[in-house]
């Protein structure tokens, strides 16, 4: 009797161990209705312009997975990075899934806050994603997220002002922009261009001359190289000559969008995330009035930084909930979902197959942005990547608003990079 009981207990224990080992992998044969969990998703998209579309997608998700409750939280973009890091470090209060900007993913991954997704269902179709957006998820040989939308900077212009001034096609170089702005001022009295006083928005000028911020391959800081200085000089010249409006030091971005929507400035450099905002502006005249072109080229090329957002999963999500999290991200990022978002918001899908769907192909804004994104310049996906823009923003204010010497300002930026951001890199 005792031996038999011992045998039963041993068999039971063995079965438990076997079940424990096997339970780690997401079961492939689970009926969607059986999947039960409560997940929190922090969405960083604009709550007025973009949020409602994502919430519609969640409703669609719940039609297939009725027992997975999604707790949708709209977190302001400016605060989400800090909030996530605080919550993840405290190991409580962090969301299960986060819509992370591309520059945040290497930083979070380096701190151990994200699950690596290699070997899971989410990366089974890795090759179906466009390469550059997917590359922003990779850190140290592992992949930590899947790309949701990608974007870049383009030249957005007001078609009506162009027609009134007799301009037939968007300017292709910065010199063309200067002449176009002069024509616009003379014929319509409106301002030509508004350059936002932010480091990110000056990258097209830097890339246009063949420059960059850092060279991670050779670990060099190149932000104050002669190419970069030439690029910033072009931007400063546009402001000084009156072709571009002198941006205010505070709220430059808000002023840019207000002036553009009220048709007081003809051209701005911005991305597809503002398309819905422009579409719903009562004073703009709808999307028919919006023209999208590639950023003007410098002497070397036309280059704009690649941006976008990725879905990432917090590493503190308990193992039992990961199956539901994977199912959620898989649904939200399917080709049909991406086409839905493209249709509603004009944001660019990251799946190659999404671009073959009829509704995406006929979407004027998406087709206008696609070549822009294809030509976008990849940024260095290092954990310190997001920290480049603080000193760069200060440089933008000094150069565009206060008219300081670009070389001196860029040297100060390079110095800040060396002392505080990437001390292991060598200065140029």
């Amino acid at each position: 009797m005792r031996i038999r009981t011992a045998g039963v207990v041993a068999a039971f224990a063995l079965a438990l161990v076997a079940a424990g080992c096997g339970g780690a992998e997401p079961a492939k044969t689970t009926d969607p209705k059986d999947l039960k969990a409560e997940l929190t998703w922090w969405d960083t998209s604009d709550p007025k312009n973009e949020g409602p579309a994502f919430q519609e997608l969640i409703a669609k998700f719940n039609q297939t997975y009725p027992n997975v409750k999604i707790n949708y939280q709209s977190v302001p973009f400016g605060e989400a990075q800090n909030k996530f890091k605080t919550a993840a470090a405290a190991k409580s209060g962090a969301p299960d899934i986060l819509r992370a900007e591309v520059a945040w993913v290497p930083e979070f991954a380096s701190l151990g806050y994200l699950y690596s997704l290699d070997g899971s269902d989410l990366l089974a179709d890795e090759s179906a994603y466009v390469a550059t957006p997917l590359s922003s998820n990779k850190f140290n040989g592992k992949t930590y997220g899947v790309p949701q939308v990608t974007d870049s900077l383009a030249l957005l212009y007001n078609k009506k002002i162009f027609t009134d001034a007799g301009i037939t096609s968007a300017p292709k170089t910065w010199a063309d922009v200067k002449t176009a702005a002069a024509t616009i001022k003379a014929k319509t009295g409106k301002d030509g261009l508004f350059i936002n006083a932010g480091g990110y928005f000056l990258l097209p000028f830097i890339y246009g001359e063949g420059g960059d911020l850092v060279d991670p391959a050779s670990k060099k800081i190149v932000v104050n190289s002669s190419a970069d200085v030439d690029g910033i000089k072009i931007a400063q010249d546009l402001v000084n000559s009156g072709a571009a409006v002198k941006p205010p030091a505070n709220d430059s971005y808000g002023t840019m969008m207000t002036l553009f929507k009220e048709q007081k400035v003809a051209m701005i450099i911005n991305g597809p995330w503002e398309v819905n905002n422009i579409k719903t502006a009562p004073t703009f005249g709808g999307l028919d009035n919006l023209g999208v072109a590639a950023v003007p080229a410098g002497s070397k090329k036309a280059g704009a930084p690649v941006g976008g957002h990725n879905y990432v999963i917090w590493s503190g999500v308990p193992q039992e909930k990961t199956a539901a999290a994977i199912a959620f991200v898989k649904f939200m990022n399917s080709a049909t979902s991406q086409a839905f978002i493209a249709d509603k918001l004009g944001l660019l899908p990251t799946r190659k197959s999404a671009y073959d769907i009829a509704s995406v192909k006929s979407n004027a804004i998406v087709s206008a942005f696609k070549p822009v994104v294809d030509a976008a310049v990849a940024r260095p996906w290092i954990p310190e990547g997001g920290q480049f823009f603080g000193p760069l923003d200060a440089m933008a204010t000094e150069v565009l608003v206060q008219g300081k010497d670009p070389k001196a300002s860029l040297d100060a930026v390079a110095n800040k990079y060396k002392t505080e951001v990437v001390p292991s890199y060598s200065a140029s």
């Binding site: 780690a24 992998e25 800090n82 890091k85 470090a89 930083e107 991954a109 380096s110 701190l111 151990g112 699950y115 690596s116 997704l117 290699d118 070997g119 899971s120 989410l122 592992k142 002198k246 205010p248 030091a249 505070n250 709220d251 002023t255 207000t258 002036l259 999963i313 590493s315 193992q319 990961t322 999290a325 994977i326 954990p383 310190e384 997001g386 920290q387 603080g390 923003d393 200060a394 440089m395 204010t397 000094e398 608003v401 206060q402 002392t419 505080e420 951001v421």
Partner: protein, 315 residues
């Protein structure tokens, strides 16, 4: 010694909970902050082990190659030597900011208190209205003032344009940006000064004023020889409080100018915040700033107290 304790044990027992709470809330973070300033802890190297979890259930942990360690006085040398951060420019701006604000706080507060000290109609209404800025949450006021100073759409430039003058780009220049912050902070802080000084005025016996009038003193002489000396205890306290609060006034600078233009209106506390919470958080650097700010204010308080004692105040 034992008799001292046993005689007043009840006092110690009643004080004990407060001491414990204060120790936990203030002494422990202070001690830990001072310790952190002697290391090179950042968010990235605070863990001795970095663990990467895979969603398929595995986990790989490896020791952190550059884990945080003790660096002695390196942080202080780098900060004070100007190699890391911008301590000296920030200190200069903080001093200018503090002096300007306290001077206007005290001057306007005193003027308003003297005005309200006389009996007049609707005096209570004025007093309530003048307390309102203090009652409104400071960040609400900060945003309102920031928008009023907006170059394109703000009230002040609208008024200037209406009068035919050219609008001022308030936030483009370091000094006009600092001016906007000073104006906002003065608006926020005058009520406190006014209320305190009004209370102080009411303690000055009116016989002194009568005696001064009989002696033939002019109103200005009455003010300088009766009012100001009578207010000295209150004045010294509110000036000390105002100085320390303004020195550490984070919300006004952060919300009104945001350190613009190009970080030229940053004060020490906002600069420390940026080091602590922007980008990869540098706990050691911000702890260093914290200790330096505390030291500056401690030295100031010690000298201030000596100054008061020399003037005969028992404080």
């Amino acid at each position: 010694m034992r008799r001292f304790f046993s005689k007043h044990w009840y006092a110690w027992a009643m004080v004990a909970p407060v001491v414990v709470v204060l120790a936990v809330l203030i002494l422990y973070p202070l001690g830990r902050g001072i310790y952190l300033s002697f290391t090179n802890t950042t968010e990235a190297n605070q863990l001795s082990e970095i663990c990467t979890k895979s969603i398929t259930g595995t986990q790989s942990c490896e020791p952190n190659p550059d884990a945080a360690h003790f660096v002695g006085l390196d942080n202080y040398l780098h900060v004070l030597g100007g190699q890391v951060g911008e301590f000296w420019p920030w200190l200069a701006i903080t001093l200018i900011w503090t002096v300007a604000c306290v001077v206007f706080h005290y001057g306007l507060g005193l003027g308003l208190a003297v005005l309200l000290h006389r009996p007049m109609r609707l005096r209570n209404v004025y007093r309530v209205l003048l307390i309102l800025p203090w009652a409104v949450p400071s960040f609400v006021s900060a945003f309102a003032w920031r928008f009023m100073f907006n170059e394109q759409f703000g009230l002040f430039n609208g008024v200037l344009k209406g009068l035919g003058l050219s609008p001022v780009a308030w936030f483009d220049n370091q000094w006009t940006a600092l001016l906007t912050a000073v104006v906002t902070n003065v608006w926020l802080g005058v009520p406190f000064m006014m209320v305190s000084l009004l209370g102080g005025l009411q303690t000055i016996p009116s016989e002194l004023y009568e005696a001064a009038t009989i002696d033939g003193a002019t109103p200005w002489q009455r003010f300088t020889n009766v009012t100001l000396p009578g207010l000295r205890p209150v004045s010294m306290t509110v000036v000390l409080l105002g100085t320390i609060w303004t020195f550490n006034m984070f919300s006004v600078i952060y919300l009104v100018t945001g350190g613009q233009p190009a970080g030229q209106t940053e004060i020490l506390v906002t600069g420390a915040y940026r080091a602590a919470f922007e980008g990869i958080r540098n706990y050691a650097l911000s702890a260093t700033y914290g200790v330096l700010i505390l030291s500056i204010l401690l030295v100031f308080s010690v000298f201030y107290r000596r100054l008061l004692r020399r003037q005969g105040e028992v404080w």
